[in-house]
Structures are given as C-alpha cells and as structure tokens.
Symmetry: C2
Subunit: 417 residues, 2 copies
Amino acid sequence: MRLSKLYTKTRRDAPKDETAKNAQLLIKAGYIHKDAAGVYLWLPLGRIVLNKIIQIIRDEMDALGYQEVMMSSLQRKELWETTDRWDDDKVDIWFKTKYKNGKEAGLAWSHEEQMVDMMRQFISSYKDLPVGVYQFQNKLRNEIRAKSGIMRTREFIMKDLYSFCRDQEQHDSFYNDVKEAYLRIFERVGLGDSTYFTFASGGPFAEFSHEFQTVTEAGEDIIYVDKSKRIAINQEVLRDDVLNNLGVKREDLEEVKASEVGNIFSFGTSKSEPFGLKFTDEDGKEKFVTMGSYGIGPARVMGVIVEHFADERGLVWPKGIAPADVHIVRIGDTPEVVAAADKLYADLQAAGKQVIYDDRNERAGQMFADADLIGVPHRVTVSAKTIEQGSVEYKARTGSDSKLVKTDEAVKTLTKA
Amino acid sequence: MRLSKLYTKTRRDAPKDETAKNAQLLIKAGYIHKDAAGVYLWLPLGRIVLNKIIQIIRDEMDALGYQEVMMSSLQRKELWETTDRWDDDKVDIWFKTKYKNGKEAGLAWSHEEQMVDMMRQFISSYKDLPVGVYQFQNKLRNEIRAKSGIMRTREFIMKDLYSFCRDQEQHDSFYNDVKEAYLRIFERVGLGDSTYFTFASGGPFAEFSHEFQTVTEAGEDIIYVDKSKRIAINQEVLRDDVLNNLGVKREDLEEVKASEVGNIFSFGTSKSEPFGLKFTDEDGKEKFVTMGSYGIGPARVMGVIVEHFADERGLVWPKGIAPADVHIVRIGDTPEVVAAADKLYADLQAAGKQVIYDDRNERAGQMFADADLIGVPHRVTVSAKTIEQGSVEYKARTGSDSKLVKTDEAVKTLTKA
C-alpha cells in the first residue's frame, strides 16, 4: 500500500469531544472517523486491522466445525415478548422503529431470541446435537453514554456463537472447547499473556458465567488474579466459598485493572423452554435443548489492544493484526532512491509480506512520526545515505534504536519475521 | 462439507406466504430462512454463495485501487437535512429511531450523505483526486411491499462505491473504468452473456444514468436490446433523439424482460455543493468535487441468478459462485463404500476443490433429489456397484444423463473443472 494513494491522512489532533485514548489515537492515525458520539466509521487501515481480528476468530470457530450464518438487524416484537425482553423497562438499550403499517420492530442489540426461533426448524432429534452456530453481526445499543471510544459504541460488530446440546454433560464439553478456542484467539491477537479466564456471577441460570479479562492499566474493571494458576475472579463473586471451590487462596490473589474482551454464558434450558425448542432423545422422550452463548466484540478487542500497547509516539500493533508487516520510509526522490525503495517494496511483497510504503516524499521527521503513529512492527528507511552503504536503516516499532543492515539481509530477515 | 454435519436440512415446501421463486427454492434447499416479510436470514450455504459474489466484487474494486471502508447504520438527521432528504415526504423508505435523549436518528437506506461529509476531512487538493471509496454495508429500506424474495428486501447488504474527481473529464474516465469492472463482475458470476449496459433516465443532473440489466424471463422490467451492439435502452428513454444519439436503429431493438443487477450515477457537483466538499485546483482556485455513485446488491444478483438458471429440479449455480465444486453422493454404508467415498472426498479437497459430501446414508432417491435441489455443478456417486467397476457415476447438474467414469479419471477431470 503506497501512502501517496491512501486517501486518509494522519492528523495532529483528535476531535475535542473525544476523550478515549484508543479513539484519539485511531482517529489521529487515520484508522477511524468519528461520525457521532458512539458511532465510528472504519477507514481503510482500521478495516484491515478489524478484519484481521475477525478472521482469527472465524478461523478458530471454523476449526471446531461451528457454522456461520448472518441474521438481521430488524427484530420481530413477538420474539422478544416471548422472553419478556421487549419492554424498555426490562431492556434499556433498545433502538426501536416502525414499519409503514405502524407495526413496531426492534433493532438487534442481541440475536438470542431470533436464533432460538430459527433453530426450531432444524433441531428435532438428539442426532442433530451438538451444534454450534455463529455470526459476525451488527449490534445496535442505545447506550445513554458512550465514552470509551471503540470499546463501547452504539453500533458495533459482534461475533456471537450459540451452542445447542442434549444435556448438561454435552454442554460442558462444548463450553470447554469454546473456552480453549477463546484462549487461542487472545493469544493470536497478541493478548495471550495478559488475558485471564475470569469467574463472574452466573445470574439466574448458572453458578458462574465467565469473562475473558485483559489485565491492563487502562481497564475499567477490577479483578483478582492468581497468576500462577492463570485464573481470575471478579468482584461480584470474590467470596470464601467461591475461592474454596476453585482451590484459590486469597493471599495469592492480586488486585488489578482489567478490560473485558469476551464472555461465555450457560443458559441451561431457560431460552429453549419459552420457545419450545425441543428434541427427541434416544429414549424417545422430548426434551428441551441446553444452550450457551459466547461473545467477542472484535472492535472492543482492538480498542483494548490499542490501550494496552500504545506508547507516547502512537499505536503499537502485535504482529498478527498489524495493518502491514513492514513500513518503508523513503527519504528523497532521486532516481536511485526511488528505484531502491520501489525494489524493496516489490521484493517484500513478492515474499508474501504486507507493506506500507511511504512514497509521499515528505520531510523525514514527518514520515518517521507518521510511521510511529501508524504502529507497524518493522520500519525500514531507504535514503541516499543508506544506499551508499548498500544498506537500509531498520528500526523495530518497540525499539529505541535504529541500525544499518545490508539490504539483502534485511529482506531475508523481514521475510522470516 | 459433510451433509451429516450441516445443521440445515432441505424441506419439501416453502412457507405458504412466500411467492417469489428465488426465495422458495433457496428456503427449500436450506440457503436462507424467512424471518419476516422482506427479512431473510442467511444460512451456511446461502452465506457461502453470497460471500463468493461479494469477494468477486471486492476483487474487481481492489484491482482498480478503490479503498474499502465500513460506515454505520445510524445516520444523523442534520446530514440528510443538508440535501433535503430527511422528510418522509421526500424519501418514503426511511426507518427512523430515537436516541435516549429523544434525538431522532435515521437507519441508513443509502450512505451518500455520510460519505460526502466524511470525505471533507480528507480532500483538499487536486492531488487527492481521483479517489474511489467503497463498502459492503447493510441497508434498511422501509418498503411498503416486499414480494420479490431476496431481490427486494427490507434489509440487505449493498456494495456502494463513490467516486471523487476534479472535473468532468476525470469523472468520465473513472466512470468508464467502473463500467468495465461491472461487466467483468457479471461475467464472473455467470451472467455475462445475458447482462446489458442499459441507458436509463439521468434525473436532474445528467442526461442518462446507467443500469446493468440481466435479460431473463423472470425480469420485472422491460428493456429494448440491440444484441449485436450489446446495448440496451429502458422504456423511460426510448425516444428517437436518444436512439440517434446512440447510433441505434429502432428496428434492431428487441423487447425483452430483464432484471436490474447494478446501477451507476453521475452526480456532477450536486452532492458536493450542499456539503461544501471542495478542493484547490492547480490554478489555485477552489472548486467543487465531481462525484459518482455505483451500486451492486450481492443478494439481488444472487436472486437473479437463481431465477435465471434454476430448473424444475432445483437450483443451478454457475461455477464461480456455487457453494461447492463437487457434490458426492454416497450410497450405502459398507466399509468399502465408506472408504471409497471418504477417499474421493479427501482427494478432491487435497486438489483444492470445495466438496459437499452426502454421507447421511439416506435413500438414494432422496439424496439425488437433494443434490439437484442444492444445485452444485458436478455430482459424483459412489456405491457398491460403481466400486465393483473401479468407477464412480458422474452427472453434470445441467445434464440429463449420468455415466460411469474410472475413479482416477474422474478426480483428474474434476480437479481441472
């Protein structure tokens, strides 16, 4: 990607009404555009990163044989009345609208009800179970305040997976598979070391629900972490009986700030009963399906990554989700410099690398500042001075020093990076 | 994909209230689920086909250097008041909703206004032009009636591209590039032969707008086609002056039924003026940006393909967008048959083919009927009888006869198919 062709530009300041660090940086670096409070548009660089996170999640879902669908924003009132979640008194984040004939419709903030209703057509026997169905779908949530940048918005894409099992045992095994997949996902997006499987209150249907919490100074939650056991407990369930149950000692727990990056719930039959979602078991008896739901918000994950890794110079992306592998800065526009930088760009691409190429011929200081702001892991500079020495100047985004490296060697090393 | 694992099932009948042939077939074959009038959910097979169409479109957009973004469903009232398109009297397909503070918001049926507003941040000089920005985005349209299946729904994904140019000349060249890309897209999805570049009324800002119309018996439009010139004219502009202008003779025109599959518009400066979207030209003067917009609805295209190719036995997919390349039917479940079919499945996948494998051990008649209904181009049957002869039975979806083919040869031929 040549920066001279990219239509977005970096900017010195974020809008004054933007208070979240993640959104400020992403706006300045040209990843997102703020349209309204809690409504952001995804610019080319932002869409690439968001999409890489989405692809990692999809990959892990597909590997377990879960099947991808796409549901709708428009929601039928009847479906949500079935579970008594239509009233604004019961659910306070609805956006609602009306058809031309005056009939009300909701705009999906979740898809559980529609999913259960749809599955009635396809589940009839124990042979149909277990099954996992997921989607990446727009959610609209009428939040009173939206102030955490892309971490809590009024409109966002959510990966929601639903599981349908014949009994608790089958459900527990499914649930555990998803838990392991989630840990792999957080590993792959660069949050593995700092993300903990966290016990939270289960609500009416289960002793616990589980969150995935990333320990980070920017976190808005407080959790209690047992680092050696890699378990965390949130404030709601920090009780002696729970600690005993989990075999965790209070003195091993560390209080830390954290951000929720995923959650998984067991529903039992609380969703299948109101909709009559049943199956015939091997014994010939009709039973209700045991369900679970498993969410990850890719934009929220991206926001946490920004907050967690960014430094005073700008964004810092883990390599699995960076918008490119290498950022080439070309200083000067003499034929020799242009030819050398063009060749490096072509060679790295030919080796399968994604490359941002700053061919704008701006001041060196401006281009270095932009490279830091954009946050690609590896920066390579080509100038008359480096060419004289048959070299390029290499700097890691997280390093403080740059060094001269022979050009061939640099290509070889970056190709393996 | 093993059919025993696919959670959807074929069904004998579509819902009684479904009158469109495309939706009837897609529901029966398990591609879509009808949630409400004009609201369909995309099941795994449907999502695969829709996604292949989307990828072909994306491919052609990226090849021309257009840049992908993702905008929002929530729309600010102010933006649409700027162009006097907020009132329901002016635009009769709005869905509207309200924020918690009582402020109104629209749900996007188009994104022109938001796009122009966003581009004000990034366009300032003639050097920034031309630029093409596109997205695949959910559109919500409050249609009074929805009766054409997935061809006209209340909620659907649309590819919308917008062009920003410095003058009419630059715009004309951009417009022509998109026209050529659209023709390649329709070629690649299997509609090349029957799709015509069609002259339609231009509205207030241009002499013509252009549609891409697919000639098909199921079409809801009437157009007039000059087959040798590969040009069509719609009823609105079938006038002598237009025919003269285009060098087309009335006697060469054939009246045919057709379905619109894409459209492209020139806006001139009618969109940039109300928003003040200007740039500084080489001569130092401020000028308004010349714009165009270019739409394709992937689901609409898919609906037209269904209507155009389906036969009395079910769906018939062109090879570029079929949910799989090959559909294996396994008759029987003796170890020999299972081993032979499993091996064929593995070999074809290893050769890079996408395969639907009917391993359900249903009655042969049921499995053949399902294969026809699902509509994959190539069907291969493995049974005790075919194994005896070292062969498989091959049938093309569009052919009437099946034939025995040596297994090795079948794999070789299908790998190249």
